[in-house]
Symmetry: C2
Subunit: 262 residues, 2 copies
């Protein structure tokens, strides 16, 4: 992969807006190809630009940094996730909205499994790429945390003063579930229905602490009904301290079942 002297360039020196995406795409694929073949550190931006047939300066007009060339879609995905959050119907549980948001991220990876798998191989062995990806998913986390901070008060206002903590924990839990499913899928070579696996992980999240959000800190024995939303199979979560009497617990659960199932 030698330097191209770049004399008498075949491509015209100015391009229209429509062609700009093509240049960006060429740069991304050239970067991905060079990173895979000769390593990340060993590849210079000059080589990437030369392989794409543009100048070095043009590269930095399309990507803020060398690392960003390998994750070209995170910015777009971020605004799409934000759009998902903004356009959520008021009736939807905030946790479900966030789950739909992170699904958007997973779809980005699932859209081109081969590239994602190869990129995963690179991120594992190059610390710079690893940190860059961590910072990228942290941006989604921040989005979700802020969203839940503004929407948990309505759904679980009676939970007390621990709403912001639960919002942060819930957001990170959803992100962690996504990371787990994604990495398992990538390690398996990008085969199988990731989105289904993610939905299964969401079930676990919801069962573990998701819909139990309204329960809050149970002392000594409480149980909360769950909004039905015409979705069969929703779960009822009851939390009780073990120092509560069994009959106390049963009464609380019974009461929750009554108000939630009519």
């Amino acid at each position: 992969m030698q330097y191209v002297p770049h004399m008498s360039q075949p491509r015209s020196t100015a391009r229209t807006t429509a062609q700009r995406h093509r240049v960006r795409q060429d740069l991304a694929t050239a970067a991905m190809h060079l990173f895979s073949t000769k390593g990340y550190e060993a590849t210079t931006v000059d080589e990437i630009a030369a392989a794409a047939g543009v100048a070095r300066r043009t590269f930095f007009r399309h990507f803020r940094s060398k690392e960003e060339a390998i994750f070209p879609d995170h910015d777009d995905t971020l605004v799409r996730v934000q759009a998902v959050l903004d356009s959520a119907e008021p009736g939807e549980h905030p946790l479900d909205t966030v789950c739909r948001g992170i699904t958007e991220v997973l779809r980005m990876y699932a859209e081109s499994p081969e590239v994602s798998v190869e990129r995963y191989r690179l991120t594992r062995e190059v610390p710079a790429l690893r940190e860059h990806e961590i910072a990228s998913v942290a941006r989604y986390d921040r989005l979700f945390t802020r969203y839940l901070l503004g929407h948990f008060d309505e759904a679980a206002h009676r939970a007390g003063d621990d709403d912001p903590l639960l919002a942060e924990v819930a957001a990170s839990a959803v992100v962690a579930a996504h990371n787990h499913v994604l990495r398992r899928w990538l390690r398996a070579g990008g085969k199988g229905d990731v989105e289904a696996q993610l939905n299964h992980a969401f079930d676990v999240i919801r069962e573990t602490f998701g819909t139990g959000m309204g329960v809050g800190r149970a002392t000594p024995a409480t149980a909360a009904p769950v909004p039905q939303e015409d979705r069969p199979g929703a779960v009822v979560v009851a939390v009780a301290r073990t120092d509560a009497s069994p009959t106390e617990v049963l009464r609380a659960v019974e009461k929750a079942l009554e108000s939630g199932l009519d």
Copy 2:
């Protein structure tokens, strides 16, 4: 803050191993001071080294990068956290062990509140520092995830095939709780008992989904007893799908209470 020509340096050119920590400390404080006064990107490594009375090359012998000079203790804290995990007694719940691990991180911040607060101000407005700190806490997250992966099987082996997911979610939840408490403390100016606040957050974590780990996926109606461990106030979590009959749910809860409270 001019360049020091560095002729006739007052400090001897070679130092013993004991003095090496002093040089590192001088570099860290000089970096922190310069970053605070004239900004992070406006400060060059040359200036930091000159302020500490050493050569530029020496700076990079103590810190891998410019950002690391502002977080000098993360590496040491990481091995201390690992030591906490390694020396945990077999009887302790893995989640509690991880909580003690992240407490070690919080103590590092709490050790010098003024520095932490000022550093927090910098990390908020400098993206490079922000990403570096995110990557740092991600390393703790990885530690915890791997630890829980190897210790959840024993405690909740009956939960099925979702152990790795729960391990990852639990680790990120603990880290998220730490981040939340830490940031709130930093925003408040570093006043108050952070460690107590963190322990309170741990209670919420444990009540929310910590000890409910053994419940697993309940279909259509199950409830699991929780290991008591001589800790009063532990919670029992019951999960049931709403398509289960109320009596079915009550029977399951009752059974769990019997086996868990004797």
